[in-house]
Amino acid sequence: MRKKSLLKTLFYSLILFSILECTSKEKEHIELWDASLISDIDLPYKNINAIDLNEIPFDNLSDYGFFQGLIRNLDPVEGVLLYEPASSLFTDYAFKSRFIWLPKGNSITIQNDVEGTFDFPDNTILIKNFYYPVDFSQPEGIRRILETRLLVKQRGTWEAYPYIWKDDQSDAQYKVAGAEIKVHWKDYNGDQVMINYLVPNKNQCKSCHNIHEQLVPIGVKAKYLNHTIVHKEESENQLLKWAISGKLSNYSKEKRYPSMVNYQDTSQPLELRARAYLDINCAHCHRAEAPGSTSGLFLTYEEMDPMKLGILKTPVAAGFGAGSFKFDIVPGKSDQSILTYRMGTNLVGAAMPELGRVSVHQEGLELIKKWIDEM
């Protein structure tokens, strides 16, 4: 066992060494994170049910008591529930884990709209962790957590609180002004990748989490949760699971709730996969109620109007984001569509989405190209 970990360390240091070797030519000294920085500081236990909710935001993530044992294991205490949306926003290939906590005795009600939006009780907390496994082929192996974003509903309105993890992974600290973090991993092809990961500042959260200039959650709606997930050997529809655990008050087994497909699920029709991808990656902003409405380009899963979806629609304020193209989508011609151009560039000011990526999501881009080409 010990031998194995020694080998592992040797292996990683070899990789690090080779990276350093390559970059040292630029004379710029780049300090890379490595797993040896992780320390096993065990923090004192916090009872989440006893924290003073009026004191939020706390300085440290550990002050909330969401997780038991070593905080970096993200092992939720009772009442903190793991959830997964059907499709997930691309954030520079970061892995994410999401949890929800409601104060005891409170529950969510599902609204009767097309997306099945939720009405949350005060002091609901959504917890989203962003991390990178050192080796993507071993997602359960050594990982580096970069940030945890909290959305907390306080006195009727949501607030966003970003926490940045320490290099030693012993805790995360509240940081308003954002940050830039060098992060590297071995991708599925075995190639080393390094990027400057950008942690948004507090108010940038609202660039996406915005309906009528009010901060709102994105992924916690019936349409995103109405599917089965496997967790700790249990397999259940999430809405049902939430209802059973008392988190959803008006759920009815007889009722049909909206649902969206997982864009990665190749057994689903291309149209639905592409629309699911655009919905979760773009429609938080590109909808009538959100900041991207200025463009007239609406990309929700439910949108039916071809022009609003961008088909033969001219841009408005795209600037150089339009590239050399005339229309958002030219059916059959993904290489002449502004949509795919903006997804495929890293040029700041042209790249879409505007936030949350410094690299191109190749798999997502391929999906949307295929969809446009087959129109």
Partner: protein
């Protein structure tokens, strides 16, 4: 003798081509020098970021003299009665050259917001944007880009969109790749005493209601002042704009919205021919008076309908026609420079105008009209009115483009358009802001 004639013709042609090329001007003029300013420390920069992010209603955020380099966007989130003040346009400079993500450098959302006395430079997208705000005032804000290569510049310098009660006063906007001062999908607007230069478009009012643009200088842009209505937007159409007492001259800058030699893309601004003073596109209820419109090499005022773009025109609650326009008492001065040949509209004017090839035009009308109203433009169905004192001496062209490129017609006849009309705007309540 014949040889001499041929030689002289060749010489003339060379002269013409040289002349045409040399007319396409470009500028990188700066109104201040930020390199002389004290560089603010990382802590000072972060302090400003936090002050704006954590602002409470009623806050005054004072930004001391210095050069601030931001790595993150400066965003004010839905607050009321906020003032952000620098120490002067040449004293407090916010640079977004280091910004690696995000659409604009500064974004302000809220009600009754004032930002004044500072400069913003090198934002990768837009310089300063305000959205969904009621009561937003920009006073002595200078937004620019310092790149020598202007193709790297951002889209809009000053960019209020979907706002109410907007005042832009004594601002400077330069070198943006689209419009310097761009007000979009908003209501109740004053743009006054400001300077826009070196942009593709100087000042643009798009899908807006109730706007007054006065006392400004728009010079050395490709197009000086624009009033547009584009289809398919949440605010579907706009009406009511007065443009008066402005100085609109030498807007002969190369149109750098797309790379040189590349065709226009879907952004309408990419089609603007260098040398345009004021352009109306699908504009409703516009009055243009007492302006000095000098030395714009292609056209002083162009009245256009959306048909000329060639783009689809199917949109709800929107009309592609310009209508109810009153142009009077402006001062025109043409230049000896030749009209633009780099854009289709430039070529149209250069070649087909009614006064002879290569003649700068003072006023043109593209001649599209709503055939449900009349069968002929002679009845002035869109109510386009001209009352210019020396209209006899002006170069006026009415085009007929209904039959497309193969049969372009043009006439000098302005008689159908000699009339008066009324345009109503009401922005008095903004003068106290």
């Amino acid at each position: 003798m014949k040889k001499l004639q041929i030689l002289s013709i060749i010489a003339f042609l060379i002269f013409i081509s040289w002349y045409t090329l040399s007319c396409t001007s470009s500028t990188t003029e700066m109104t201040y020098d930020s390199s002389k300013l004290r560089k603010a420390s990382a802590e000072e920069v972060e302090k400003i970021v936090e002050a704006v992010i954590l602002a409470n209603d009623g806050d005054l955020i004072d930004i001391p003299e210095g050069y601030y380099s931001f790595k993150t966007q400066l965003i004010l989130d839905n607050k009321n009665n906020i003032q952000i003040k620098g120490q002067g346009m040449d004293k407090t400079v916010l640079s977004f050259r280091e910004l690696k993500t995000g659409g604009e450098g500064v974004k302000l959302v809220g009600n009754d917001i004032l930002i004044q006395d500072l400069s913003i430079e090198d934002a990768p997208g837009d310089g300063i944007k305000s959205q969904h705000s009621d009561g937003i005032t920009f006073r002595r804000i200078n937004v620019t880009w310092t790149n020598g290569d202007k193709s790297k510049n951002g889209t809009y310098a000053i960019y209020p969109v979907q706002c109410k009660n907007v005042v832009i006063d004594e601002c400077i906007a330069s070198h943006s790749k689209d419009a310097g001062i761009y007000v979009g999908q908003s209501e109740n607007i004053i743009v006054k005493n400001s300077l826009a230069f070196g942009n593709v478009a100087g000042i643009e009012i798009e899908n807006c209601d109730n706007a007054e643009v006065f006392g400004n200088t728009a010079r050395d842009n490709a197009g000086g002042i624009l009033v547009f209505n584009l289809p398919g937007l949440p605010k579907s159409d706009g009406k009511g704009t007065k443009i008066y007492n402005n100085n609109v001259y030498s807007n002969n800058h190369v149109n750098f919205a797309t790379p040189l030699g590349e065709d226009p893309n879907g952004n309408t601004v990419t089609m603007i021919p260098p040398g345009s003073g004021i352009i109306l596109l699908a504009a409703k209820d516009v009055e243009i008076y007492n302006n000095r419109i000098h030395k714009n090499k292609t056209v002083g005022i162009a009245i256009a309908n959306y048909h000329v773009t060639g783009f689809p025109m199917d949109a709800p609650n929107w009309s592609p026609f310009s209508s109810n326009v009153f142009i009077h008492n402006n001062d025109y001065e043409r230049t000896l420079k030749l009209p633009d040949l780099s854009k289709e509209f430039g070529q149209l004017i250069f070649i087909y105008n009614a006064h002879g090839k290569g003649k700068t035009q003072d006023i043109i009308y593209d001649g599209f009209f709503d055939k449900n109203i009349s069968t002929t433009i002679q009845t002035n169905p869109m109510n386009i009115c001209l009352q210019e004192e020396e209209i006899n001496n002006l170069h006026f062209t009415l085009f007929d483009l209904w039959e497309g490129e193969k049969n372009i017609k043009a006439t000098k006849d302005y008689n159908p358009f000699v009339c008066k009309t009324e345009v109503v705007t009401q922005v008095k309540h903004l003068s106290l802001r």
